[in-house]
């Protein structure tokens, strides 16, 4: 059984329906990416999985359980963590406190301490900045913090929303290296990206999303070489 399996998902805000019957799945150990233009519904997909936006119809099955009726704050405990669009760092908490907040659902102090050290290994700059307030970090540092914070709940599946947004290419490479390394250690990843080229190079499989549904799916390297994808998303 897939780790995450979404079937015919519908959701939206008020009168606006954003997801119009979306289906996708993530197997354990995979990096799966969803690419698509602005407004296709990529962020809404992740927010619905995380429970911040209510699903109106369809199924979200995670690790064998249905998530559709589980409240947002319970979903983290089930093993799903998200680094959201725009990072959403706590601006007036220090880097260290931000990381501790990521472990809000846990109370094994030594384990938390250990995981903080681990995130300092992945992102050494966070160790240097640990006393600094989240709001004073650069965009790249905030992105690293957002990912590290999500990892603090020890998720089985990491949801990443546009980790490359607005960052210098060098920083993006660094962050994508860490994602690849995390995956090598066994982390499953669902990555939503506008930077289709980088995302498809990193991922095992990809989905193409247009106005609330999936229009194409295949192995990432197949999508990378598909002329339609190249024309629409890779600027070739």
């Amino acid at each position: 059984m897939a780790l995450l399996e979404i079937t015919d998902l519908r959701s939206g805000y008020g009168a606006i329906e954003v997801l119009k019957g979306l289906s996708l799945k993530v197997e354990a150990g995979e990096i799966v990416t969803v690419i698509g233009a602005n407004g296709a519904g990529k962020t809404t997909t992740l927010m619905t999985i995380s429970g911040c936006v209510k699903a109106r119809d369809g199924r979200i099955s995670f690790d064998g359980n249905d998530l559709a009726s589980v409240p947002a704050h319970e979903i983290v405990k089930r093993g799903l963590a998200q680094s959201p669009e725009g990072r959403k760092i706590f601006p007036r908490l220090s880097v260290l406190e931000n990381l501790e907040m990521g472990a809000f659902t846990r109370n094994d102090k030594p384990g938390i301490r250990e995981d903080i050290e681990k995130s300092f290994q992945y992102f050494p700059i966070l160790k240097e900045r640990q006393k600094q307030l989240g709001g004073t970090l650069s965009g790249g540092e905030q992105q690293m913090l957002a990912i590290a914070r999500a990892l603090m709940s020890r998720p089985k599946l990491l949801l990443l929303d546009e980790p490359s947004l607005g960052l210098a290419p060098m920083i993006v490479l660094k962050i994508f290296d860490v994602i690849r390394e995390l995956n090598r250690q066994g982390m499953s990843v669902l990555l939503v990206e506008q930077n289709a080229r980088m995302a498809l190079r990193l991922a095992h499989r990809g989905y193409v999303m247009e106005t609330g549904t999936i229009t194409m799916t295949d192995k990432a390297e197949v999508l990378l070489n598909d002329p339609r994808i190249q024309a629409a998303y890779l600027g070739e």
């Binding site: 704050h73 706590f90 307030l133």
Partner: protein, 319 residues
Amino acid sequence: MQPILADGNGGALFWELLVNGLVMGSLFALIALGYSLVYGIIELVNFAHGDLFMLGAAMTYTLTALAVSWFGTVTPGGMSFAIVLGLLLIVPFFCGGANILIDRAVYRPLRRAPRLVPLVSALGVSFVLVNIGQLWIGTSPLSLENKAQLVSDDSLIQMGEVPLKWKDAVVLITVVPVMVGLTWLVKFTRLGKAMRATAQNLVAAQLMGIGVERVIASTFFVGGYLAGLAAVVYTLKIGRIEYQMGFQNGLYAFTAAVVGGIGNIPGAVLGGLLLGFIYSFGGGYSQGNWVDALIFGVLIVLLIFRPTGLLGSRSREKV
């Protein structure tokens, strides 16, 4: 407006006004915290907060009247001490609980609505509470002291020529530990952590596994609790209540919250104290004529130079 007694020489008057300012300031601060906590977490100016304070005062009066009808005449001493303790236990819970109910019934359904919508609802709730108060205690002022003298008029200690009256001491003895307790709650407890996270970024807090609705309800409870506490000590000190008392005191407290930097806890306390001193000294030296002009003048001037208030934060999230 309470006219401030100006007996004795200038030096003694100064100290008396200082003590009075400290006491009134602590009261404003308690109410201001309720505005600030709620604003900090859901960016709602809860205009009904002052009227919740009024209902707390009404509750204080009613419970005192009940106690008197049970025990007969109450004079300062053991029995009055027990009644005061009882009031301090019951009324804050009453106001905290009422505040949760108001949030649940009125504000929560509007959580995703534009900011202006719950603000208008808050004005509506304010009128509803005023009307409840009107039905409850009537339209003419009531004197608690006609019912029972719970706190003696005597001085607790004499500092030179200046007395520290029991009525003022009760306020300070209650307020100081509560402020310490609140600081501890927000800084060190799990709920406090969740409150700070929710205030800084509600969606991110949700993604951390924080049940934000429970946090918001708790915040309304804490705000209401403090308003209830303020209502008890205010009623004991001033000795007189009326159904419109929530408006002016609420406005002062809201001003205090804005002056301190709304959403900021030490700011609310600082703003409350500042307002208390302006209220006391302004009233003392102008026979009460210029108090409102002074208070709101300070607000206007301060906001021109520090739009975020004295301790308001300027840090913005980077996108």
